[in-house]
Symmetry: C2
Subunit: 306 residues, 2 copies
Amino acid sequence: MDNIKIFCPASVSNVSCGFDVLGFCLDGIGDEMIINKTSKKGINISKIIGADLSKDSNKNVASIAASAILKDLKLNHGFDFQIIKKIKPGSGIGSSAASAAGAVFGINKLIGEPYNRNELIKFALEGEKHASQAEHADNLAPVLLGGFTLVRSNKTLDIIKLPCPKELFVTILHPEIELKTSHARAILKKSIPLNNLVKQSGNLGALVSALYTNDYDLLSRSLKDYIIEPLRSKLIPEFDLLKKTAINSGALGSGISGSGPSIFALSKGRDTAIRVGEAMKNVVKNLPIKHKIYVSKINQNGIQAI
Amino acid sequence: MDNIKIFCPASVSNVSCGFDVLGFCLDGIGDEMIINKTSKKGINISKIIGADLSKDSNKNVASIAASAILKDLKLNHGFDFQIIKKIKPGSGIGSSAASAAGAVFGINKLIGEPYNRNELIKFALEGEKHASQAEHADNLAPVLLGGFTLVRSNKTLDIIKLPCPKELFVTILHPEIELKTSHARAILKKSIPLNNLVKQSGNLGALVSALYTNDYDLLSRSLKDYIIEPLRSKLIPEFDLLKKTAINSGALGSGISGSGPSIFALSKGRDTAIRVGEAMKNVVKNLPIKHKIYVSKINQNGIQAI
């Protein structure tokens, strides 16, 4: 096999109560990447469509991740990348994770899969680090493993794939403003009240339980964030009203996707997820910002060759 | 039914990564309580054996909890309590929770069970509040519901009973020094680094997952506490060595039981739990403090009439 085309899905991290540890993979929203083996060693990016990103292989998330996997191997050839960005960088739905995961997933396929999907995370993380100035696998894990994932330890990359109810659907509202992860991280407080740890722990534990037991009501009650959302939501136009609207329209819960500005809502059933999206769109229709709406099931397969 | 005798089990709360939210119920370690209906209205404590506790019904945890349930009812009779304390107050294995739960469980039985076990928690909490000056159901929940429990919300008492692997056994080392919950709480810091929230979240989520999937290795990796243990362990003689000894002897993990001074260790299989206890006992045998060792399975039934 000398070339491969990949679908690199978008993802939602944090998921209200799981700051820097929880994430899930989206379906039907994602980048495409074409990778060709080349006789020349190293990484070349010949084309980027859809986003104004650097083709310099020391600056591009995909090529940095690709270089990390190549460091481990002795190959007598290289790779050329064509990247079709459909996820806007800085949108909060894992643009850099999709690129980093795509690069390592594609190369691994082209060289006969010496690594499993779990092992690929550490290479992709090199790219992600470059993008967000923080070492977190909460978007990479769901992209590479699919479904809902929990990062027990970012240090050792101890990652668990969690089950999730079949009827769970996601609505994403993406306001077309860019919010850099590094900026969204800078506004966080370095310490939090102990009392909020207790509330967050209760909700996170309950959310994990709800995923194992298909308990939609418990899932709904546990989608709360007392720590990050109150700070970051100020950066997102009409966040409070959008969240309230999503819940009033039948969503189980709603919150900031990753570091924003995208907002996610989880619903039971596709019809509800569509209705939630329409109601949210209605809130923002007169704002001087364009908004996109996506509705997706939880993507259990993660990144795939197409 | 005019009288009842109850076994009021001990319990372990916090469980390393679940500060103020997680707990489990012990078997074979607990108080006994005899409650008789009396023609005189109100609560009387006629006997307390095994601990120097007030019989004043405004000051005793059991009678305060009993009064809370009576407030809800219009009875033309009262109750007399005889309490045989086998759990030492201030030992960290839920002495006050056992008393509070015993009182409300016993009265509920004697009046035809108008409440279910979950509903009894809010009454028992009135007693617990008096004892620990904090409103947490992390010991009461496992005593009343049995097994492992998670308190999603202490405010609304949204409580989930978690499954747990059948071969899970507990070793308790109880140094016979009293450590008041209020004192152990006072030494905690009011705020914690955000970074520690992430580590604690990862471990708590993983622990809940491990309980659902019977994954002993994951359970072991997730029994970590970066927030509370470093502070409270200083109050417990030889804590670090005891913990290390427990783990080196085969325990999956070890930590402070509740607010201490008792230390718990979780093991796969009774034989390992016994071996862990013997090794821990060996560490403290020359200390000028008496220590008790208990080995128990997880008590799935919780509090019971005997």
